[in-house]
């Protein structure tokens, strides 16, 4: 399943997710050590190929790679030159010639990591592509929930916000469903993607109903610049109807946890006091991000997928 990398949760089997989460739990122990570095990927090169700026995710991958002793190189193509002349496949071929052991790709357009993976011998890890997938985010979310609830199976997960434009939502939907949870999405109808039921989730336009009995409540970041006026009337109205605060949270289970992929628009999708304190687990999500990405790099970096002839070639 993960043969040419980690492109999406959609392609993973439940066992793959379990392996990654289990490995990540062990990686957390490394992070608690005095010396937070192991020699596992010594001499390996990981390229962070970020077409779209994302300090948080890039840094998380960078720390993860460095804790495994890999050499992490940040490659940030300049937007202008890329869109004008160089095709993504050219970029991919150039990278392939540098013989990396893993390439972490972030791009604003869905499908680009896959196109690059098709050209590369090294595994490609999708660090977010358009509104398609952000698999490591969903995996670290699942890890966080697993730590809080000791299980994923049978939980009710409610995702609130701009589902239509959210890769985090899609990856979490695929992931939690594969792990046996029930997933609900709640948003104004303008932010629910077409035929969303085909993903296996139930859409709600009443936040109260969507929260009823939820174990996990995940608020998504609202792109206020892009969406206000076009997808919802105003930030104020959104905050009033779909912004999560302690009063609305009462509809969920008593021990429900609150998650957010960050960065939070305080007072919009999450009330100020919810962002910092229990039941919010936002900082655990960030912490788990490094361990989770260490796990993914450990499982994938250095594995070649396009030259099976190399296997056992030395024996």
């Amino acid at each position: 399943m993960m043969e040419n990398g980690l492109l999406g949760i959609q392609e993973l089997a439940r066992e793959d997710i379990e392996t990654i989460l289990e490995t990540a739990i062990h990686m957390k122990e490394v992070a608690e050590r005095d010396v937070k570095k192991v020699p596992t990927l010594r001499g390996r090169t990981i390229i962070n190929l970020f077409f779209e700026p994302s300090t948080r995710t890039r840094t998380s991958f960078e720390i993860a790679g460095k804790r495994l002793s890999a050499d992490v190189v940040n490659f940030t193509p300049s937007h202008s030159s890329l869109s004008k002349s160089e095709s993504i496949l050219d970029t991919a071929k150039t990278l392939d010639a540098m013989d990396p052991d893993a390439v972490v790709v972030r791009h604003g357009v869905a499908g680009v990591p896959k196109r690059i993976a098709d050209e590369l011998d090294a595994p490609v890890i999708n660090a977010g592509d358009g509104a398609h997938e952000h698999p490591t985010q969903a995996l670290l979310d699942m890890l966080t929930v697993l730590e809080e609830k000791d299980r994923l199976d049978g939980l009710t997960v409610t995702i609130i916000g701009d589902i239509a434009h959210s890769r985090v939502a899609r990856s979490n939907i695929h992931g939690f469903l594969k792990m046996g949870a029930e997933v609900r999405v709640a948003a104004p109808p303008t932010m629910i993607p077409a035929a969303v039921e085909t993903l296996g989730v139930k859409p709600f336009s009443s936040l109260r109903e969507a929260l009823d009995g939820a174990d996990v409540v995940m608020a998504l970041r609202i792109q206020r610049e892009r969406l206000a006026g076009a997808y919802f009337p105003s930030v104020r109205e959104y905050a009033a109807t779909f912004g999560l605060d302690r009063a609305k949270l009462r509809f969920a289970k008593d021990d429900a946890i609150v998650m957010h992929p960050g960065p939070v628009n305080r007072g919009v999708e999450l009330a100020h006091d919810l962002a910092d304190h229990r039941p919010s687990v936002i900082l655990d999500q960030v912490r788990n991000g490094v361990a989770l990405r260490m796990a993914v790099l450990y499982l994938l970096a250095g594995r070649r997928h396009r030259r099976p002839a190399d296997e056992g070639g030395n024996s």
Partner: protein, 225 residues
């Protein structure tokens, strides 16, 4: 491909010399079109294991002055129950309660090959730093010495021990590194292609049952001894 050190030419003894890792994780058996059937033979039974561990406990007491600083560290999976048993024995023999830790060596291995599945990680539980301690690494089967090498590297990330000593229930030879075992339960001469495995009650880190030698049928007929 310049980034990747060539694979070791002979991997037939398993990546870590027939230690516990050899029946799981990376390809344990030499790749051949039709795997040779294995013949198994018990080389240490439960009673002999118990006797060996008691003898080793005595040896540890004899050989060390500062018994209070002892720190037993088991290498998963087989080393973990053995370290636990040794701690019990030390309590019996010398009224000691040594620290007992678990140290997974997987992230320190030198054979994470470029293709194929990555081995599963095991728990590491080190109850305290190892500074100024006499650390006794405990493994079930020692062969190439690579697991012990990895364990020593891992250990150094937990501090600066005063000394490191090594226990192996079985030493089967075929050393590839200059590693000396301080306390050996039993020396068992083997062929490279053989596998030596300690079996436990639950198949992982439970109570030890016995140690078996598995050797390919064709190579059998006394040749392995």
């Amino acid at each position: 491909m310049a980034n990747h050190p060539p694979q070791r030419p002979n991997r037939s003894a398993g990546p870590h010399g027939g230690s516990e890792g050899s029946l799981e994780g990376v390809s344990p058996l030499p790749k051949s079109p039709a795997p040779t059937p294995l013949v198994s033979q018990v080389v240490l039974d439960t009673v002999s294991i118990g006797r060996a561990l008691m003898r080793i406990a005595h040896e540890i007491v004899e050989r060390n002055d500062d018994l209070e600083s002892l720190y037993l560290v088991g290498v998963p999976n087989g080393g973990v129950p053995l370290a636990r048993r040794l701690a019990e024995n030390l309590d019996q023999v010398a009224d000691l309660e040594p620290l007992v830790g678990i140290l997974d060596t997987t992230l320190y291995r030198d054979d994470l090959i470029s293709s194929g599945k990555r081995p599963k990680l095991r728990d590491t539980e080190m109850p305290s730093a190892v500074d100024d301690r006499v650390v006794i690494l405990v493994d079930d089967v020692c062969s190439t010495g690579r697991t012990i090498r990895a364990a020593m590297d891992a250990l150094m990330d937990f501090g600066r021990p005063r000394a490191v000593q090594v226990v192996a229930l079985v030493d089967r030879g075929h050393r590839e590194l200059p590693i000396k075992i301080d306390y050996v339960g039993k020396n068992i001469p083997t062929q490279r292609a053989d596998l030596v495995k300690m079996r436990t009650e639950d198949g992982v880190q439970g109570e030890p049952l016995d140690v078996v030698l598995l050797h390919p049928e064709t190579a059998a007929g006394g040749a392995s001894r």
